[in-house]
Every structure is written in structure tokens, then in C-alpha cells.
């Protein structure tokens, strides 16, 4: 029995995914109503942020970012000088990957007396997202898990371990998160299953797509509306000769408006020879990506780069976006992506420059050894020696 199947058989019941999504959407609308009635009341704007984050993460509702931007703006007009406004502005900026702006707001929140624990929690997320102070982040994440044992804290730790290429530890931590979970909300469970899918399907040096697809399937059993899980599962299906299955997996997610759904659907249709339909979906994907990148360039720079380096078929645009992403957050993964695109685009200067940056920043870390860039460094050293 596979680990994913074993997990399924021995796991507890969670609230039906369709019920959970209805309740989330319903609560999201209600929280906005309450915000409109009394935007200053403690806790209401924070609840809106929480609901919108869940909506973006699990329902693939990318317009959540637009709504959050509106919320931050409203607060800046009605409650400009408060710590909570600065904290929410930092959260919203962070969600949009405007990390420098988020740090500025976080500093303001701290100056205005925001709770230390809240400031620190967000600061850790920013550092992790940007790949800065990772040793300190790791220590603090471990300590937080030791103290609280909450699933959110365990997933954050596991995500960091994966970033640091400590894949076995990451897998073990995700497993602990699942075993320790004692609630009925399906969101955290689906989230961990999804993360395990990404871990085994994309992050490890030699991806295990079968193992990954089982985790994505588990995620969808818990939460059928989980758009990201559908996209990643469809990608595996398409690449393993199951294009019709990929199409079936993606169709229910079309209403999310996520351009990655359109893109992967176009790929699945193209494989099946549905050329006209595939072209229409690809056009729609291109249009949606452009729209998203215009509104939220930093939030979707890496996804946009992946699209244009793939079926979007525009390496120049892909490299441009990948470089934007690297400038915004020079993580090893961002540098790997940009380097690969630079090589594919035939831009050797950019590739050399990116390799240099990666070596400078990450070359001494343990994680770098398993990076494809390590082999590039070796090759370039051998070339220089010859």
C-alpha cells in the first residue's frame, strides 16, 4: 500500500470539501458585509484577510488579491495611523509578493505597537519567501513547532526544510503534521497533501511523479475545488500519456479563472489532437496571464515565466519575468528557474550572471549541492581550467 493510500485509510473524517468551500465563500461575503458596516472594529478586517487568503489558496480565486488591495486601501483611508492597518498592509503586500513594501509596513506596525508575535510571524514568512536569514528562520520555526505543534507551523517548517533541500526531513514533518491533526476542516489536510505532491513531483532532484500524483489525488478527495492540486495533477497526467484524464481533472476548475488551468487544459487538448480547442484555451491563458501580470506583476512573475518558457513560447518574455522574480526574491529556486530560461533563450550572458549570483549567495549551502546549478558550476570550473 502506498503511503498516500495508507494515510487515506487510517485518517479521520474531515468536513466534506464542497461544504467547506460553500461555508468559506459564505463566510467571506459575510466578513465583507461586517467590514462595510464597521471597518474600524477590531478583528473584522483581519477576518476578511483570513477568508480571502483561504479563498485564493484553496479555491484558486485570484481576484482575492484585488479585493485585498481594496481592503488595504480602505483601511489606509479610515484607520491610517494604526498598527493593525500597517500589519494588514504588510500581509496584503506579502501576498502580492511585494516584499520590500511588506517589510516597510511591518516596520510601521512595529513602531505603532503591533503585537510582537504577529510581527515576528510575518517577518519569518517574508524571510522564508525571500530566502534571507534562513538559519534564524529555521531555528525559530523549529521552536514554534516545539511549543505549539499547530499544523500551520508544521507546514511552514516543512516548507522551509524543502527550500533547504532537506527533503527527508520535510517529508517527515509533513507526515507528522497529518498524524497530529485533530480538526475537521479539510483545508489543512488538503494543503499538506498538496505540499507532499509538490515535494515528490517537483522539488526532489529525481521527481517521483506516481508518488506525487497520489498525494494530489488525496488532496482532491479532501477538497475537490482545490484548483492548484488539479493543475499539478493534470500536468503529471499529461506528461504520462493520460491527456484525457488531465482534461477531466481541469474542466471543473475552469470557473476559477486561473490561467494555469487554461494553459494545462490547452496542453492536454493539444496532445489529444484537439487543435482548435487547444488554441482557444491557449489564447485565453495568454490573455489571463497578461491581465494578471499587469495587475500583480510580482505575484505572478515566476508563474508567468514558467508559462512563457513553456507553451506560451516566448523565451524573451519568460526571461524578463524570471529576472523580475530573482530581483524580488533571490531564492535558489528563483535563480535556478531564471538560469534555465536564460540557457533556453540562448542568453549566455544572463545565464553566466545568474550562475554567478547563485554561487555567491547559495554556493556554500548544503542545498546547493543538489541544485542543477552545482553541476553548471563544476562545468564552468572545468571549462576555465581547460
Amino acid at each position: 500500500m502506498s503511503e498516500a493510500a495508507e494515510f487515506h485509510d487510517t485518517c479521520f473524517q474531515t468536513t466534506d470539501g464542497d461544504i467547506a468551500v460553500i461555508n468559506l465563500e459564505s463566510a467571506r461575503l459575510r466578513s465583507w458585509s461586517r467590514f462595510y458596516q464597521d471597518p474600524m472594529r477590531e478583528g473584522i478586517a483581519e477576518t476578511v484577510v483570513e477568508h480571502e487568503q483561504l479563498s485564493a489558496q484553496f479555491a484558486g480565486d485570484l481576484t482575492a488579491l484585488d479585493r485585498l488591495e481594496f481592503l488595504a486601501k480602505q483601511l489606509s483611508q479610515t484607520d491610517a495611523a494604526s498598527a493593525r492597518t500597517a500589519l494588514i498592509q504588510a500581509q496584503v503586500a506579502s501576498m502580492k509578493h511585494r516584499f520590500a513594501e511588506a517589510r516597510h509596513h511591518l516596520e510601521q506596525a512595529e513602531i505603532r505597537g503591533a503585537q510582537e508575535a504577529e510581527v515576528n510571524r510575518l517577518r519569518l514568512s517574508l524571510d522564508q519567501a525571500c530566502g534571507t536569514n534562513l538559519d534564524r528562520v529555521l531555528d525559530e520555526r523549529r521552536e514554534t513547532v516545539r511549543r505549539s505543534g499547530g499544523i500551520e507551523d508544521q507546514v511552514a517548517l516543512a516548507g522551509l526544510l524543502a527550500d533547504l533541500r532537506e527533503f527527508s526531513d520535510a517529508d517527515r514533518t509533513y507526515g507528522q503534521a497529518l498524524r497530529n491533526y485533530r480538526d475537521v476542516s479539510p483545508f489543512p489536510v488538503a494543503w499538506v497533501c498538496f505540499q507532499l505532491g509538490v515535494l515528490w513531483g517537483e522539488l526532489v532532484p529525481e521527481p517521483q511523479t506516481n508518488r506525487a500524483s497520489q498525494w494530489y489525488e488525496r488532496a482532491l478527495e479532501r477538497l475537490p475545488g482545490y484548483t492548484k492540486a488539479r493543475v499539478h495533477l493534470a500536468e503529471i497526467y499529461s506528461s504520462s500519456g493520460r491527456a484525457a484524464d488531465a482534461e477531466s481533472v481541469l474542466i471543473p476548475a475552469l470557473s476559477s479563472g486561473d490561467p494555469e488551468v487554461l494553459w494545462r487544459l490547452a496542453d492536454a487538448m493539444a496532445i489529444q489532437g484537439k487543435t482548435a480547442d487547444a488554441e482557444a484555451q491557449m489564447q485565453a491563458a495568454r490573455s489571463e496571464f497578461n491581465s494578471l501580470l499587469e495587475r500583480h506583476p510580482l505575484a505572478f512573475a515566476d508563474h508567468g515565466a514558467e508559462f512563457y518558457a513553456g507553451s506560451g513560447n516566448d523565451f524573451r518574455r519568460a526571461l524578463e519575468l524570471a529576472l523580475v522574480n530573482v530581483t524580488n526574491r533571490p531564492t535558489l529556486r528563483a535563480l535556478e528557474q531564471a538560469h534555465e530560461i536564460a540557457v533556453s533563450a540562448g542568453d549566455s550572458n544572463a545565464a553566466v550572471s545568474l550562475l554567478g549570483k547563485a554561487i555567491e549567495r547559495w554556493g556554500d549551502t548544503a542545498g546547493f549541492k543538489s541544485s542543477p546549478l552545482a553541476a553548471r558550476r563544476l562545468a564552468s570550473q572545468e571549462g576555465a581550467a581547460a
Binding site: F12, T15, D16, A27, R30, Y36, G150, R182, D183, V184
Partner: protein, 498 residues
């Protein structure tokens, strides 16, 4: 709030979060008792029950075994347990919401199927039991702010809804009061176990509630310096059987918290021994009700209070739908009933009703209308025209009169068909090219807030006009149509100008 959002674990799935518990004599039939439990605080218009949770209301026979500073209420088996489970959703008829059915397992083991939101409820064939489950207006009243003291305020739960389970039954047949008429009741939400799912683990409890505010006001009192949040630990305790190992921890917290509440008005009304007795009483957290005595809107906590005062109780205690439990509780904790403390209001959004299921129909949620138009002109040019609160650019407006200046000014609009609309400017930001206003009259809605905003879009601009309101009068659809027409007509007219 009574038991609303009383710990981080509930926030994961708010539909398992118990808000309140009620026990009262049926307004329709004095020979029947009603027990009710609400879940899902501030739920949205489409909220449904979790299918992964057992929702139980549990009654035990109780007796007074000590009075005064030795006050003690003891409960005994057997439990009288009502457990509701809910199904996954069934597709509704065309354009209708999905249907959810549930099953209530009754104390005698028989099961009763019901459909949620059916106001008639479902009854057993002999009429002994009747059940309703569905969305209702939240009857809870919290009209105080506690940050840095106690300040009267409007009801913080105004217009909120909850998911309600109300069970009515024949008192004599189910409770057999001849063997004693005093009872203790709790409600709990527990994950539904899967066969062989929890190897070595009992299913943990998600939430439970006895008397109001055990968690949010007594155990988690911000006025107690350096106090950890004990609410999750409390929620995982077994009702009627708090773990002996942690009882001292909870008791100490209750004492510390009650000392703090006593001094909120700057006066000490509780002697140390009386306060300790009060803490001991609250530690045994269940709601007492006596079916042989009257349960009224003011009888809540009377059984406990009289017993602590060394006197026989006079009422049936319990809790009715309209009981103002926060004020009753605060008065007791802060000044030991020396002077009644009344919050900013004593009325819930809607009062309870005299007919089954006794909880008022749900409140209507705020509605929103958003319309926008894209224009070829720069935002500054567009704002120059429409950014004046008293501007007459709208084709449906015949005349506008401004009263006052700046924020707070009123505009009295005369429409081309002779109607009058009055609106107040609440916020203006010329740099962001937006203003916010409130409708005072002329639109069949209440709590109406509108925002007009011009944003850059490519080389031109985008104008967005949005509003939020509670429909009031002719109905949601008609009001939305009126507002949408007003917005659309105005925005469309801009196309010919830019």
C-alpha cells in the same frame, strides 16, 4: 461572546464552533421542554452544517449538595443524549440551493430524519420529539466593549446569523421529573469517528458549552496579567468530568479572573471565600434548569446565585432565547447583584418567537452592486468632472443641492422623475480620486454605503461605482435593480464625454 470563536481550533472549521446553549419551557406547550444549541458564529447566507461532526446536547439529572460557600451541584447518570449528524449536500431543484438532510439520534435510541431549514421541523410519530436545524438570527446580545475597562456599546452581533439546532420534547416522558426536576445540560461538537481510524486515540472534542462565557470571559480574561490561553485545553475536556489533573489549573484561572471582574468597577463586592465558592461553581460547567419552576427571560443563573447566597432557588434557571445573559452575568461577577449593569442595548437583532422553532428567521445579508466603465481619458480629467460630490453630470439627476461643506456635507438629489435622494459624504480622497458616501434616504435600503472611484487603466481610466446595503422594503432584487440602473446609466453617459 458567549462561546463564539472560543479558541484557535474552532477557527479551522467554524461550523463546529458552538456559540450558545439554551434550555427553556416551550412557549407553544408548557408540558414540553426546548433545548437548543447554535454553531457557526457570524455565518454567511449559504452556511451549512459540517458532515464530519456529531452535534450533541446532553442532559444529566442534578441535585444541590451544598449551599453558600460550600455550594455544589452534582450530576448523575444516565445521560439523556440527543445527537445530530448531517449529510453531505444533495443537489437542489433548478436555481435552488443544495439540500442538506440530517439525523437526530434520540435518548431512547430511535432516529429522526429531518431536512435543514425546514421551519416546520420533523417529529417522531408519537409527537414526543420535534427537531429543527437550520439558519436563524443570532439571539445573542453583547453590547459592551471590554478593552481597558467596560464601555457600553451597540450589539456587536447585530445582524449576525448562526446555525441552530432546536429540540422540543415532552418533559414528563423524557425527563421524568418525578424523580427530581433539576437538570444540568451541555452541548458539544465531536468529530465523527471512522471505524479503526483512531488507533490509540479517542476522538478529540472540538468544542463544548455549558454556562455562557466560560471560555471567552472567565478563562480567557485579558485583565489577568500573563495568563496563557487555556480555551483549547478546556474545549478538549470531557463535560461533567473535567480531568482531575487539570482542575486545579482551571480553578486558579477562574479565581484570578473573577477577582479581576470583581474589581472592574473599582469596588470589591466579593469576599475571598464567596469568590472561591463562585469559582468552584463555575468550574463545574453545565447549565442548570428546573422543569418544575418557571424559566423566564430573567431566570438565567438564578439557581446558582441563590444557592451561593445560601437560599433556596425560586425559578427554573435555564436560558430563554431572549435572556440578556451577558448583563446578568456581568452584574453577578462585577458587583454580586448590587446594581444591574445594562449594556448599550438589551435587544438582540431579532427577538425570539412564540412558535417553533422559537429562534427568529435569519437576517438578510448586505447586498452589493458594482458597476464600472473604461474610458479613454486620463483619470485626472474624469475625476475633474465626477469627483465633485455635488456635481450634476449624471443624466438621471435634474438638480442637486448641497448642505454644508467638507466631510459630512449632504447632497439632496432631485431625479428627473421627481424623486428625492439624500446622501452624506463620509470620505474624500482627491489624490486617490475616490469618495465614499452614505445614503440617508430615497433608496429602499438601509446601511447603504457607496464608493465612486477613478483608477488609471492603460493610457485611460477605469471608473468603478459600488455600493453595499441591506434591502429594505420592496425586496432585494428590486433594490439591486434600482441601484444598478442608477450606476450603469451614469457610467455609460461618461463614454460620450471622453
Amino acid at each position: 461572546m458567549s462561546d463564539h470563536i472560543d479558541g484557535p481550533r474552532q477557527i479551522g472549521d467554524p461550523s463546529s464552533d458552538l456559540t450558545d446553549l439554551f434550555a427553556f419551557i416551550s412557549p407553544e406547550n408548557p408540558a414540553s421542554t426546548v433545548l437548543a444549541a447554535n454553531v457557526f458564529p457570524t455565518c454567511g447566507a449559504d452556511a451549512v452544517f459540517s458532515n464530519a461532526v456529531d452535534h450533541s446536547i446532553v442532559v444529566r439529572r442534578a441535585k444541590v449538595t451544598g449551599i453558600g460557600d460550600a455550594t455544589k451541584f452534582e450530576t448523575s447518570d444516565p445521560e439523556i443524549r440527543f445527537t445530530c449528524r448531517f449529510d453531505t449536500l444533495e443537489r437542489g431543484a433548478a436555481d435552488q440551493k443544495p439540500i442538506q438532510r440530517g439525523t437526530c439520534t434520540l435518548p431512547d435510541g430511535q432516529t429522526l430524519r429531518f431536512v435543514t431549514n425546514d421551519e416546520k421541523g420533523a417529529s417522531t410519530p408519537d409527537g414526543t420529539f420535534r427537531i429543527f436545524a437550520g439558519m436563524r438570527s443570532d439571539p445573542f446580545i453583547l453590547a459592551w466593549l471590554f478593552g481597558g475597562g467596560m464601555r457600553k456599546f451597540q450589539n456587536l452581533l447585530f445582524n449576525d446569523n448562526v446555525l441552530c439546532i432546536a429540540i422540543e420534547f415532552e418533559t414528563r416522558r423524557v425527563l421524568n421529573p418525578d424523580n427530581g426536576s433539576l437538570f444540568a445540560v451541555i452541548a458539544e461538537t465531536v468529530p465523527r469517528p471512522r471505524p479503526a481510524a483512531f488507533v490509540g486515540h479517542e476522538p478529540p472534542r472540538l468544542d463544548w458549552v455549558g454556562r455562557p462565557e466560560q471560555t471567552n470571559m472567565r478563562l480567557n480574561n485579558e485583565g489577568v496579567a500573563g495568563a496563557d490561553d487555556l480555551r483549547d485545553l478546556w474545549n478538549q475536556q470531557t463535560p461533567f468530568g473535567i480531568d482531575e489533573k487539570v482542575r486545579p489549573l482551571f480553578l486558579q484561572r477562574l479565581k484570578d479572573s473573577l477577582v479581576n471582574w470583581d474589581m472592574r468597577d473599582g469596588k470589591q463586592d466579593w469576599t475571598p471565600s464567596a469568590l472561591a465558592a463562585n469559582a468552584n461553581m463555575f468550574l463545574d460547567d453545565f447549565m442548570l434548569f428546573d422543569v418544575a419552576k418557571p424559566i423566564t427571560d430573567t431566570s438565567h443563573l438564578e439557581i446558582e446565585k441563590s444557592t451561593l447566597n445560601g437560599q433556596p432557588y425560586q425559578t427554573g434557571g435555564g436560558r430563554t432565547v431572549d435572556a440578556d445573559v451577558i448583563d446578568v452575568l456581568l452584574t453577578w461577577m462585577v458587583n454580586r447583584d448590587r446594581e444591574f449593569l445594562e449594556g448599550g442595548t438589551t435587544k438582540a437583532t431579532k427577538p425570539g418567537t412564540k412558535n417553533f422553532p422559537y429562534f427568529a428567521a435569519p437576517n438578510t445579508d448586505l447586498q452589493s452592486v458594482v458597476e464600472s466603465v473604461e474610458l479613454g481619458a486620463a483619470p485626472e480629467r474624469v475625476w475633474q468632472l465626477i469627483g465633485q460630490f455635488g456635481g450634476t453630470w449624471h443624466p438621471l439627476i435634474a438638480n442637486i443641492k448641497l448642505i454644508g461643506t467638507g466631510i459630512g456635507q449632504l447632497r439632496v438629489i432631485e431625479t428627473i422623475d421627481g424623486k428625492q435622494i439624500i446622501e452624506r459624504l463620509d470620505a474624500l480622497d482627491n489624490s486617490a480620486r475616490s469618495y465614499r458616501y452614505t445614503n440617508i434616504g430615497g433608496i429602499p435600503a438601509s446601511d447603504y454605503t457607496g464608493v465612486l472611484e477613478v483608477k488609471p487603466k492603460g493610457v485611460g481610466s477605469s471608473v468603478e461605482w459600488r455600493s453595499q446595503f441591506l434591502p429594505n422594503g420592496p425586496g432585494t432584487l428590486i433594490t439591486k435593480t434600482i441601484v444598478a440602473t442608477l450606476f450603469k446609466t451614469g457610467l455609460e453617459s461618461l463614454k460620450s464625454r471622453f
